[in-house]
């Protein structure tokens, strides 16, 4: 595991909002072909990190190497087109477009329409949304929206998938369903997955490696069981005493 | 924004000019000052007036002059702006110390400048103003020459009565000049016993008149008296046709008088009535000196003079007569002469009443085969009018 290939090499990433150091020199390497977790207390900079990785926010400094290329400074769609796809903490689907249209909207214009349609059908099948293909996004239940967003993130067959709190607001059955899909992607297709999650069960049971952020800095990384007993991590979560 | 810019420019102009203009005019000359729009939105009609002024001055200076004195003509540009105009007349009077002044173009600017002229007691001809209201303010020094707005529809309403129209609708743009024209139309309708079934205004820039015209139809009006400019008059006649509303008379004011009215509207413009102060038709109007004036103007400028040119030439003729009668360019004497004298110009007889109003009779024309033909007053009509207007369905088939 130590010599696992690196999918994403994050070096000294920084993002300040005025005086607030949201991400303050964060460095870690996401191993390729694995499911990794990114945890930390509220406000530790997890979502900001995701936004920096996907270009939604522009980093103040630092590097993110993906396939040997620094993707800091690229536009979100450029990063997306290089094979990095994401979901959001609170689902962001197009509420006034149908499920099918939501799916198609994430396909590149360069892909022939027929191919894109076939891919959308396949993915809807995969997340069991085929029956709802004509339904408006806004009419779906929260869990269904989550699935839709997940499926949409897979439209271009990305190599790296960033999931922002997939478990939030989702019932057990659906969550297990979703996690099955994630495992399927990793095991069958060799995808790299990075999950931000509050639900420790998800992290402990499904991630091979965990990174812990606090105040915008990585304070620990390692196997889930090691992290559980790491003193710094416990201190970050439960305060200094 | 534009206005304030012009204003500042005007100030700057006045300031820079100030130290240099302490000119003293030689005793052997009569200086005649005017500020008129050579640029801006009034430039076109005002330009024709300037043409006439230059023509007249050159003619007089080549001949005997005014009482043997040559005219020194001082021409300034008010940029079609009221405030600039006021400044320039102040300058003409206090710095250039001109002997006499002529009024600017447009009723609005004339009304504003009149106060300055009144204060300095400058007898002034106002060929550029047709709003009757200007002479209702007890002014003594501004002299009217042309028919006032209140009389623009006089002919059309007479014709309406003559062809048996009982109900008329009066519409007009919501601004000073059309309102006065409408006011006069209501008066004339009352005098001639016509019923005004609708009297409404519309905002400037109105382009869609369909609902208004439909309302006119619903009110069973037989004639439409439209106190309008070009764009609105053109839109109205066009939309009457689109709605297939058949009226007996459509009478505009200044719009139909423009050559582009008939040109742009084609056969839709046929039978429309319009008003003009004057037309360059010496054979019909038979005013003394008219033929010569038209010939000289056409020779110099390549086009026939229109009424703007006619009335401005006439106003200098009046001034010339007044100076002759007064024996000098002394303003008090000239003023007395203007108040009492009677004369005839290229556009007709001139004599003012107590309020300085001249009873100039304008003329009503009809567009027939794309040409403006004088149809009223009868004594100077070129052709008999062809009214009521034929139905739209019967048009365009010949």
């Amino acid at each position: 595991m130590a010599d696992a290939e690196i999918a994403l090499d994050i070096q000294n990433l920084k993002k300040y909002f005025g005086g607030i150091k949201a991400v303050d020199g964060c460095t870690f390497q996401v191993p390729k072909g694995q499911i990794s977790g990114l945890i930390g207390p509220n406000g530790s900079g997890k979502t900001t990190t995701f936004n920096l990785l996907t270009g939604v926010l522009a980093a103040d400094s630092g590097e993110v190497l993906y396939n040997g290329e620094n993707i800091v400074g690229l536009r979100p769609y450029e990063i997306f087109n290089r094979g990095i796809s994401r979901t959001f903490q609170i689902t962001r689907i197009y509420r006034e477009m149908t499920v099918f249209e939501n799916m198609l909207s994430a396909s590149s214009m360069k892909v022939p329409l027929r191919e894109a349609r076939a891919r959308a059908e396949q993915l809807m099948e995969f997340v069991t949304l085929t029956k709802l293909r004509g339904e408006y996004g806004g009419n779906l239940s929260y869990g269904q929206q989550k699935l839709l967003e997940f499926a949409r993130a897979l439209m271009t067959d990305p190599d790296l998938i960033l999931l922002d709190e997939p478990a939030a607001g989702v019932n057990r059955t659906l969550l297990n369903n979703l996690l099955d899909h994630i495992h399927h992607l990793q095991e069958e297709q060799g995808k790299t997955v990075l999950i931000v999650e509050h639900d420790m069960n998800v992290i402990m049971n499904h991630c091979e490696k965990v990174f812990v952020l606090d105040y915008g800095v990585k304070i620990a990384e390692g196997l889930p069981e090691d992290i559980q007993t790491n003193e710094e991590v416990i201190e970050a979560y439960f305060g200094h005493k | 924004m534009k206005k304030s810019f012009v204003l500042i420019l005007g100030f700057a102009l006045a300031l820079t000019a100030a130290p240099f203009v302490e000119k003293s005019h030689a005793m052997d000359k009569v200086s005649l000052g005017i500020a008129i729009s050579q640029t801006g939105r009034y430039a076109e009609p005002a330009g024709r007036m300037v043409n006439s002024y230059k023509l007249y001055v050159d003619q007089v200076n080549a001949g005997k002059g005014w009482n043997g004195k040559k005219i020194d003509f001082i021409l300034l540009d008010d940029k079609s702006d009221k405030q600039t105009s006021i400044k320039l007349y102040e300058k003409l009077i206090t710095q250039d110390k001109v002997n006499l002044t002529i009024g600017p173009y447009s009723s609005g600017i004339t009304d504003a400048v009149a106060n300055v002229l009144e204060r300095y007691k400058y007898p002034t001809m106002a060929p550029g103003a047709s709003s009757g209201i200007i002479w209702k303010k007890g002014r003594k020094y501004l002299f009217n020459i042309i028919a006032i707005a209140q009389d623009y529809q006089k002919g059309a309403i007479h014709i309406a009565r003559d062809i048996g129209v009982k109900k008329i609708a009066i519409v007009g743009e919501d601004s000073l000049f059309p309102r006065q024209s409408a006011e006069g139309a209501v008066e004339w309708a009352k005098k001639l016993g016509l019923e005004v079934v609708l009297n409404e205004n519309y905002p400037r820039k109105q382009t869609d008149f369909t609902a208004l015209l439909q309302k006119i139809k619903a009110r069973r009006a037989e004639a439409l008296i439209s106190n309008s400019y070009f764009a609105d008059a053109a839109a109205q006649i066009r939309q009457l046709r689109e709605l297939n509303i058949n009226l007996k008379i459509f009478a505009g004011t200044v719009g139909p008088g423009l050559p582009k009215f008939a040109k742009q509207l084609g056969d839709t413009a046929e039978y429309v009535l319009g008003f003009s102060q004057w037309e360059p038709k010496p054979a019909i109007l038979k005013r003394p000196g008219m033929k010569e004036f038209i010939a000289a103007y056409k020779k110099r400028y390549g086009v026939n003079p229109n009424y703007h040119a006619g009335q401005s030439y006439a106003s200098l003729q009046i001034f010339g007569d007044a100076v002759a009668k007064a024996g000098s360019a002394d303003r008090d004497k000239v003023w007395k002469a203007l108040r009492t004298m009677k004369t005839t110009t290229v556009i007709g007889p001139w004599k003012v009443d107590d309020t300085n109003l001249n009873q100039h009779e304008g003329l009503t024309f009809q567009i027939l085969n794309g040409e403006r033909k004088i149809v009223w007053p009868k004594k100077i009509s070129e052709v008999p009018y062809k009214l009521p207007m034929p139905n739209w369905k019967e048009r365009g088939k010949n």
């Binding site: 996907t54 270009g55 939604v56 536009r75 979100p76 769609y77 997306f80 087109n81 796809s85 994401r86 959001f88 962001r92 689907i93 197009y94 509420r95 006034e96 477009m97 249209e101 198609l104 909207s105 994430a106 396909s107 590149s108 214009m109 329409l113 949409r152 993130a153 439209m155 | 939105r41 919501d174 409404e200 205004n201 905002p203 820039k205 109105q206 382009t207 869609d208 008149f209 369909t210 609902a211 208004l212 439909q214 309302k215 619903a218 070009f230 764009a231 053109a234 839109a235 066009r238 939309q239 046709r241 689109e242 709605l243 297939n244 582009k260 742009q264 509207l265 084609g266 839709t268 365009g396």
Partner: protein, 329 residues
């Protein structure tokens, strides 16, 4: 709670609109402008039909404004100037080259699209996503510039294009101008085409996706700057098409664009900012009520503007989303 307020505002808006449409009739009866006979009903029908025809054209260019607002959250106050520019382009092709005003669309629309793209590239890209005031000022300046350029070339004279001057007789006493009908048909055709383009075509979908959430669109691989350009081009084309259809009915001069901007604003506020179908419905509704006011209220033509902007203000107060606009978040 919020749901309730939402439903209540919907009822208030409906009530307001019913009242707004009733008022002209009330005043009309009170002032003897309503006659209870067949002839008057025919006149009323004519007026309403005319309003609908007119509304169709207004709606079409209002859609352009709503598209830009929807996609970029930019209020383009130069939109009416593009309408005016369209009228002049059509006029030029008609008088100098002798091309039929409708055929000229094949030339004017591509030109308009390029103009729109240029405006986007040179002006709007720099300010999109920033404070809302900046694009407002920029487009305001752009509008003034267009007015002055057109004024310098064509003067402030009113122009008209004589086109299909006659009436189409629908019944004995209901007549509608041919040019109006032609304009309405063209406007409907163009509006519907654009609607289906947005609905079905992939680029159309990308435009809608960007309008709904530009951030998501970006992380889903949509190059939103391409979408901005296409949207601007499309909006300019709609404006210029509007200008062409206006030019065959009405006179125009460089200043008429201002009126069309205001008209388009009133329409998209009523219909719901950013909503396509809302703009179409709003356009027709606004034009019809304007016609009714002009037809039945004494001196109503002078009140039309007050009425339509009054309506805009009321809609903003009662229900800022308008008829169909998306919820503010």
């Amino acid at each position: 709670m919020q749901e309730k307020a939402e439903i209540r505002s919907k009822y208030w808006l409906a009530l307001f609109l019913v009242a707004a449409y009733t008022v002209p009739f009330g005043i009309g009866i009170y002032t003897d402008n309503v006659f209870f006979d067949l002839q008057w009903l025919a006149d009323l029908t004519t007026v309403i039909l005319n309003g609908i025809m007119q509304g169709g054209v207004y709606a079409m260019f209002a859609v352009g404004l709503t598209l830009i607002f929807g996609v970029m959250r930019i209020i383009n106050v130069a939109h009416g100037e593009l309408v005016m520019l369209g009228a002049y382009l059509t006029w030029m092709f008609f008088f100098y080259v002798g091309i039929d005003p409708l055929l000229a669309l094949f030339l004017t629309l591509p030109i308009a699209f390029v103009i729109g793209v240029l405006i986007q590239k040179l002006l709007l890209n720099a300010v999109v996503g920033g404070p809302e005031l900046t694009p407002l000022l920029i487009t305001f300046g752009l509008g003034l510039t267009i007015i002055h350029i057109v004024e310098a070339i064509f003067t402030t004279d009113y122009r008209t294009i004589p086109y299909a001057p006659d009436a189409l007789q629908i019944s004995e006493s209901i007549n509608i101008g041919r040019s109006k009908i032609i304009s309405f048909v063209m406007a409907s055709f163009i509006s519907i085409s654009v609607f289906f383009f947005l609905k079905i075509h992939r680029i159309g979908k990308a435009i809608r996706a960007t309008a709904q959430n530009a951030d998501v669109a970006m992380v889903c691989g949509i190059n939103i700057f391409h979408i901005y350009m296409i949207t601007s081009g499309l909006a300019a084309a709609l404006a210029v098409a509007g200008g062409a259809l206006v030019s065959i009915q009405f006179g125009f001069n460089p200043e008429t664009g201002v009126l069309y901007t205001l008209q388009a604003f009133a329409i998209i506020v009523l219909g719901g900012r950013g909503h396509y179908i809302g703009a179409l419905i709003g356009g027709v509704m606004l034009a019809v009520i304007e016609s009714l006011i002009s037809f039945m209220i004494p001196n109503g033509t002078a009140m039309v503007e007050i009425a339509s902007y009054g309506m805009m203000v009321f809609v903003l107060l009662i229900r800022p989303r308008g008829l169909m606009g998306p919820k503010e978040n």
